[in-house]
Symmetry: C2
Subunit: 385 residues, 2 copies
C-alpha cells in the first residue's frame, strides 16, 4: 500500500486537494466527508432513519410523492440503470434507445445483455435527440414498449429534450426510462409535469455526495408489475423496495458511509435553496468557464443552445505541440483534474462545471489551463480550422 503510507502519505497530506472538474466523482464539501467519520449498524434504527429521510428528500426534489417511489441501490449509477431496465421492461418487451452518445450505447448494451429486445435510434452526438423522430419511430413500430433517454448525455454534454420526449411517450402509451445521472438536482425534473416509468440518478453527481450508490424513481402505477422480473438477485429493485418498506432496512449490506454522506449532502442542497439554486450556481460556473476559455482561444464543441451547464466538451487546440496527456498533467500540477473527451471522430477534452465549487474555482481553472498551454509552448487554445 505504498501510495498512502510512509513518505508518500506525508507528501499527500501536504498537498491541497485537487479540484475535480469531471462528471463525477466530484469535489464534495468537507461537511459531507466528515459525515463519514462514524460507523453505523445497517440493522440499527438510527441508520434506517437516515435511509428513510433520504428517500423522502429525493422524492421532494422531483415532487414525486403522489406518483412515484424511490429505491436506492448499491453500486455505481450504471448498476441502477441496468436495474431499472430489468425492473421496468418485461422479458418480451422491446426497448428503443434514443442514442446520441456513449451513455446511450451503454444503456442499450445493458438491455441487450439481459435479453431484452433493443433497437437504437441514432442521432448525431452534437445534436439533441428528436421528439419528432421518436414519434415517427413509435408510429412505425407499435411493438416498441419502452423508450430510454439520457437526460444530459455527458459524452458530449448535450441536454436532451426530456419534456417533449416524455410527452411523445405518453401520447403513444409507451414506458419511458430516463437516465438523469448527470442532471438530477441541477436541472428541473418535475414528476407532476413529466410521465416516466423510471428515472435514475446517483450519489456522486449533482447532489454532491460521494460515489457508491444510485437510486431509481419508479412510477407507482407500474410497481406491482415489476415483481419477479429481474434476473439478478442483487439488483432486483422490486425486492429492494418491498424489503425496505417491510423492514426499513436495505436488502443487502448498504454502503453505510456513502448513504450518510449523501444524506448530509442533501441537507446542504436543501439549505442552498434546492434545484433552482444549484442550477444557478452551475450556470455561473459554466459561464465563467466558457467565457474564460474563449478568451484564450478555446472553442466549445456544442452549439450553446443545446449545451447543459454540467460538462463542456472543448475542441483540442490545433497547435501540433498539443497532446492531452501533457496538458492534463500540467493542469493537474496547478490543482485541477480535467477529463478526457469521449467523442470518436475528433479530438476533444471535457471540463465539468459541477461539484462543491463556485466562480472562484472556475476562474482559477481557466488560469491553470492558460498556464498549461504556456508550459507546452502553445499560444492559443484555438482548434484547427
Amino acid at each position: 500500500m505504498a501510495v498512502i503510507t510512509g513518505s508518500s502519505l506525508r507528501r499527500k497530506i501536504m498537498d491541497r486537494d485537487k479540484i475535480l472538474l469531471t462528471p463525477g466523482p466530484l469535489t464534495t464539501t468537507l461537511r459531507t466527508k466528515l459525515a463519514m467519520l462514524r460507523d453505523w449498524g445497517s440493522w440499527d434504527a438510527d441508520f434506517n432513519a437516515v435511509t428513510a429521510g433520504l428517500r423522502k428528500s429525493l422524492l421532494d426534489i422531483v415532487h414525486g410523492h403522489e406518483t412515484h417511489v424511490v429505491v436506492p441501490l448499491q453500486g455505481s449509477g450504471t448498476f441502477s440503470v441496468e436495474a431499472a431496465v430489468a425492473a421496468v421492461v418485461p422479458h418480451d418487451g422491446h426497448v428503443l434507445v434514443l442514442d446520441n452518445g456513449a451513455y446511450c450505447k451503454r444503456a442499450a448494451k445493458a438491455a441487450t445483455l439481459m435479453g431484452r429486445r433493443c433497437t437504437l435510434s441514432s442521432f448525431d452526438e452534437a445534436a439533441q435527440v428528436s421528439p419528432a423522430t421518436l414519434d415517427a419511430s413509435l408510429t412505425a413500430d407499435p411493438g416498441i414498449t419502452h423508450v430510454i433517454l439520457i437526460h444530459c448525455e455527458t459524452g458530449a454534454g448535450v441536454l436532451n429534450p426530456l419534456q417533449d420526449i416524455s410527452d411523445v411517450c405518453a401520447t403513444h402509451g409507451k414506458g419511458l426510462i430516463v437516465d438523469a445521472m448527470s442532471s438530477f438536482a441541477a436541472l428541473e425534473i418535475d414528476a407532476r409535469k413529466l410521465r416516466f416509468d423510471a428515472l435514475v440518478a446517483a450519489s456522486g453527481k449533482c447532489l454532491e455526495g460521494v460515489p457508491g450508490m444510485g437510486f431509481v424513481f419508479i412510477r407507482k402505477a407500474i410497481l406491482a408489475g415489476c415483481e419477479g422480473r429481474s434476473q439478478s438477485l442483487a439488483m432486483d429493485l422490486y425486492e429492494q423496495y418491498a424489503y425496505m418498506e417491510k423492514t426499513t432496512q436495505w436488502r443487502f449490506t448498504p454502503p453505510t458511509h456513502v448513504v450518510v454522506a449523501l444524506a448530509e449532502a442533501v441537507a446542504q442542497f436543501e439549505e442552498e435553496g434546492g434545484q433552482p439554486a444549484r442550477l444557478a450556481r452551475y450556470t455561473g460556473n459554466y459561464r465563467t468557464l466558457v467565457d474564460g476559455m474563449a478568451a484564450i482561444g478555446f472553442k466549445p464543441f456544442l452549439d450553446p443552445a443545446i449545451q447543459a451547464p454540467i460538462i463542456v466538451t472543448f475542441h483540442a487546440p490545433g497547435d501540433p505541440k498539443y497532446d492531452f496527456k501533457t496538458f492534463y498533467t500540467a493542469a493537474r500540477a496547478r490543482g485541477f483534474i480535467l477529463y478526457p473527451g469521449k467523442l470518436t471522430q475528433i479530438e476533444t477534452f471535457r471540463v465539468g462545471c459541477i461539484g462543491a465549487i463556485g466562480a472562484n474555482e472556475m476562474a482559477q481553472a481557466v488560469q491553470a489551463v492558460a498556464l498549461a498551454l504556456k508550459d507546452m509552448g502553445i499560444a492559443s487554445g484555438a482548434p484547427a480550422l
Copy 2:
C-alpha cells in the same frame, strides 16, 4: 434530513460511537475513516495507484499471485457472489450448493435467477457441510460442474471445512466457488494449498474497511473462459478485469472513498501482522465473549469444535420476560449493537467478534449484556431446557 441536522446532530455528536458487534458493517479505526476525507478523480493516476496497490495486497493475503487474479466490484458482497457465479459457471453448467444456512440459500437463489441449473445439498444448520456427502453427490451426478461453499456461514456461525471440500472438488475435476465473505483475512486461505475457481469477499468484513465493494479471486486457468458469459453489464467480472488491466481504471465509477478506506485498512492489517495476527485477536475476542457470557448463563448454539471465531449464535434466555427487541435496546443504550438471530427453528441472537475491537470491548459488551438482563428482571441468560 432531520436525523442528522439541528438538535439531533448535536445529540449525535455528543454520543460516543457505538461498538458494532455484527457481521458487518463493523467498527473501523479512525485512521481508516480519516482516509475518506479526500476526493479522488476516478480517472487520475493517484487513484489508480491505490487500486493497483490494493489488488496486489489482496493477492498477497491468499498467496495467489501465481494462480489467481483479483477483480474488485462495486456494491455489497452479495453483488460479488452473484458476479462470480455469472463469470465462472457456463450457461449450461450445473451448480451444487452445499447448504447449511441462509447465505448458502442466497447464493443458490442468485444462481437460479440468472438461469443456471442449481441443486441444493442440505445439511443441518448446526453442522458443517460434509466432504464425504459431497464426494458421493459428485459421483452420483457427474453432470454437476461447480460447487458453491460458504466458508464461514454467518447464519449460525459455522466454520465449513474448506480444505477438504476443495480437495474433493479437485479430485472430481469440478470448479469450486467459495463465499469467504466473513472469513477472509481472519482465517487462513492459501491459494497454494487450495484449488478454487473463484473466492469472494468484501471491504466491510475482517479487513475492517467500510462497506461498499467486494472482490473476487478468479483462477487464471479459467479466466479466458469467463469472457462473454455474464448477462449483466454492470457485474461482468471479466470485462471489469480486462478493462482494469488495459487502463488501470475501474470500468464504471468506483466508490472512491470506500476504495481508499479499504487500502488504508489493509495497510493497518499488514502492520498488525496480517492474517495470523488478526485471527489471534479475533480468537481472543471470541474467548472473552464466550467465557463472559457463560458466566452469566448464556449458552452458544454451536458445538465449539465447528464454531468460527467470527460471529457467535447464542440461545435466547429461557426466561419468559425475554424479548429480543427490549434486550437489543438495553444493550444499545450501553453502547453495543447486537445482531438478531437468523435461525428458523429456535430463538437466538448473534454477537460478532470482528472489527477494530479487542478484549476490552468484548468484556464491556458482556457487562452491557448483563446489565440489559438486569433491566429486564432476568436472573440468568440460561436457555429453556
